[in-house]
């Protein structure tokens, strides 16, 4: 390291930095640091002349390392890394000191700000001396995709991928495509036919030359990593015996959907005891058959629809199932259409009409004379069998909030809007592809706001209701987003692995396995023969958790090594 030559460039950023920080004083203080060969300021370091200046100095002074004291690295680190690269220097030989966002823009005392800027720049100088040359690597990206689940989300994703010329394996557990949408008659808010929508999808999927539809198939095993997965899928042979096949894919999309809440768990609704209390799905069956009747075969005079069955309820699921409110309004229209003259009452807590066209739909539903009754959370309506003298089958007692009165609603048919819940096999699926589930069993996305379809396992995506309750438009949007993400990768043919990742030094690893479970990306594997842990660099996202946790210090975080950070600590305190 004796011959190291560091160049320090302090940016004025016009007056943004120079107005508060005495950049010449910063130059003076860092010039005395070991290995600093040149230190200068400039108006706008990120500008072309600024970058040219850095490149010229790299050549003239034979610089090995460069420090740029300027804006936040989150702003211009890529810019200056490119500048180094153009001058023939490894881009990771750069370190930036944030003397704008975290100094000149936030401090008013010029003396204190200059002192701090000098300390931050010194820290960068001391750190950069320990930087190593790092190279980005590439691995092959298999263009095939496995889509788990043949519902509306799965089919939509499969079609986009297949249309782009890629092979898709669509694995569906049951014997037909369509998932939960196949159980519906019409869809809110425009009362389109679910069947027509599905027929279009299913036909295209089944006829698509690039899609292999695997019905009655289950994914048994997933090995490998992004771009290079090997998946084992069990199907049924002609004689009914199970047969396993292995497929090579580069990406996986999980579209396993949801199941409905079991209404019999709420005893005061009498589901399973009172014959004319049905679930939303049971009503759909009737609507698809074209007849809405009571168990006794009569046309119901009074139909009541109750919202939030199993949802928004601390005893069962605290979350809102999102689709039920609009579906209930759909039923109001459909029932009125099937049984003209029926009285429809809609018994709800809040009306969640959040989406496009939904508020209009809500208004139209009241225009057709649906009776809306609001109840308070935790103050549930109670259903009981009516007396022989009543002209209805059941009576529903509701503590109606808007009127403040307790109302007894007659009902011949009660429809329970059962909520969505995670499928029983969601735990198994999660383990299979190495993703996590939240406390409600829904699969967890990479970032709740900025990355809703990726997961912490690179190459595995989630779409549709399996991620959280959602309606058809959002399921399709997510599915097609996942497809787009995959296409962006397959278009390149290779995946770039970031140069920054963690590495286990096998000469130091004792095989204690403290790190094995720490990685959210399951990037750490254990070689049972060698008794050493190993980081799969393709999967590592460089968070450093394993590095700090390793009791032997056997794991190094490239570009965030202990030595580099220790130097920075010394530098800021000098």
């Amino acid at each position: 390291m004796d011959d190291l030559k560091i160049g320090v460039f302090v940016c004025n950023c016009g007056t943004n930095i120079a107005k508060v920080i005495d950049c010449d004083a910063v130059i003076d203080s860092v010039e005395r640091l070991p290995y600093v060969a040149v230190a200068r300021t400039y108006k706008y370091m990120c500008s072309d002349p600024g970058q040219d200046m850095i490149q010229a100095d790299i050549e003239e002074y034979g610089l090995d390392r460069v420090v740029v004291a300027a804006c936040s690295p989150r702003m211009h680190e890529p810019t200056f890394r490119k500048a180094l690269q153009k001058a023939g220097l490894n881009p990771y030989f750069l370190e930036m000191a944030n003397i704008r966002e975290q100094c000149s823009w936030v401090h008013d005392d010029p003396v204190a700000a200059t002192e701090k800027a000098a300390a931050l720049t010194a820290a960068a100088v001391m750190r950069v001396a320990h930087h190593e040359a790092l190279e980005r690597r590439s691995v092959d990206m298999c263009p095939n995709t496995l889509v788990i689940g043949g519902g509306i989300a799965g089919m939509s994703a499969a079609l986009d991928l297949a249309d782009a010329g890629n092979r898709v394996y669509l694995a569906e557990r049951s014997d037909h495509l369509g998932g939960n949408v196949a159980r519906a008659d019409l869809t809110a808010p425009y009362l389109d036919s679910a069947r027509d929508m599905l027929t279009e999808r299913v036909t295209r999927v089944v006829e698509h030359p690039n899609i292999d539809v695997l019905l009655e198939s289950q994914v048994r095993k997933v090995d490998g990593f992004v771009g290079n997965f090997k998946t084992t899928i069990r199907a049924k042979a002609d004689d009914g015996a199970p047969v396993d096949s292995v497929y090579d894919v580069g990406s996986i999309i999980v579209c396993t959907g949801y199941k409905e809440f079991d209404a019999s768990r709420i005893t005061h609704y009498g589901y399973g005891k009172l014959p004319n209390v049905v679930t939303s799905f049971e009503l759909e069956k009737m609507l698809r058959a074209g007849r809405v009747t009571t168990k006794e075969g009569k046309a119901p005079q009074y139909v009541a629809i109750i919202h939030c069955v199993g949802s928004r309820n601390l005893e069962f699921h605290a979350y809102c199932s999102r689709v039920c409110c609009m579906t209930a309004l759909k039923y109001a229209h459909e029932v009125k259409s099937a049984v003209p003259g029926a009285y429809v009452s809609d018994i709800y807590i809040d009306m969640h009409a959040f989406g496009k066209g939904m508020e209009d739909f809500y208004r139209r539903s009241s225009e057709i004379k649906t009776l809306f009754l609001m109840y308070e959370k935790n103050d549930y309506p109670v259903i009981r069998k009516a007396d022989a003298t009543d002209d209805c089958d059941m009576l529903i007692e509701v503590n109606e909030t808007l009127s403040g009165e307790t109302i007894e609603m007659p009902a011949d048919l009660v429809v329970l809007m059962v909520g969505m819940e995670a499928r029983e096999d969601s735990e198994e699926v999660a383990h299979l592809v190495n993703i996590s589930r939240d406390k409600d069993g829904w699969f967890i996305e990479s970032h709740p706001k900025l990355d809703p379809v990726a997961t912490t396992t690179d190459g595995v995506y989630i779409a549709g209701a399996c991620q959280a309750p959602k309606d058809i438009p959002d399921s399709v949007a997510q599915a097609r987003a996942a497809a787009a993400r995959i296409l962006a990768r397959t278009a390149l043919g290779k995946i770039d692995i970031d140069a920054v990742f963690a590495e286990v030094d096998e000469d130091k690893c004792s095989g204690c396995r403290m790190c094995n479970e720490l990685c959210p990306y399951v990037a750490i594997e254990f070689d049972l023969e060698k008794r050493r842990s190993h980081v799969i660099s393709a999967l590592c996202k460089a968070c450093g958790a394993c590095v700090a946790a390793c009791p032997s210090g056997a794991i190094t975080a490239r570009h965030f090594t202990d030595k580099q950070i220790f130097s920075e600590i010394e530098g800021v305190l000098a």
Binding site: R100, E101, V106, D108, I444, T456, P520, K541, I569, V572
Partner: protein
């Protein structure tokens, strides 16, 4: 001359460092006493960093990460959360006053909160006075 504490801050790239940058773009002013070192995740923070900072003369150490549940790397901040109480107990046994080392969750949108934390911590550490570590270790050597 009033004592100006020197506080080392370890901030995670995705939330807290970005939050600190936001304080900058919003031109929210705060005390100049915290010098920030960037790590990718609060999980990277080895307790040794905190001890070394105190040994090297820091009057205080501020650790910031994403709010629990929001970590860019899923659960990195929980790892920090699990280390922290043991670190505090160790520091207490080494006679380091409680308010010199602090853990705060700061999101990328919490520029003002970051500024408030820095101001608050600066005043608390100022009230404690300079860290005893460097002076004490030097005084020990002087008697030999």
């Amino acid at each position: 001359m009033t004592f100006e504490p020197k506080i080392v801050g370890f901030l995670c790239n995705w939330c807290s460092y970005t939050g600190a940058d936001l304080a900058g773009t919003s031109r929210i002013h705060y005390a100049p006493n915290v010098r920030i070192i960037r790590v990718m995740c609060s999980a990277r923070i080895d307790p040794t960093f905190v001890l070394k900072a105190l040994h090297d003369g820091a009057d205080g150490v501020l650790i910031c990460g994403c709010h629990p549940g929001d970590c860019h790397y899923s659960e990195g901040n929980y790892k920090m959360m699990r280390r922290y109480p043991m670190l505090k107990s160790l520091l207490a046994d080494y006679g380091i006053e409680d308010e010199r080392v602090r853990l705060e969750w700061v999101s990328a949108s919490e520029g003002q909160r970051f500024a408030d934390i820095v101001n608050d911590m600066t005043e608390r550490v100022r009230a404690l006075g300079p860290s005893p570590v460097k002076a004490a270790l030097e005084a020990d050597l002087a008697e030999r």
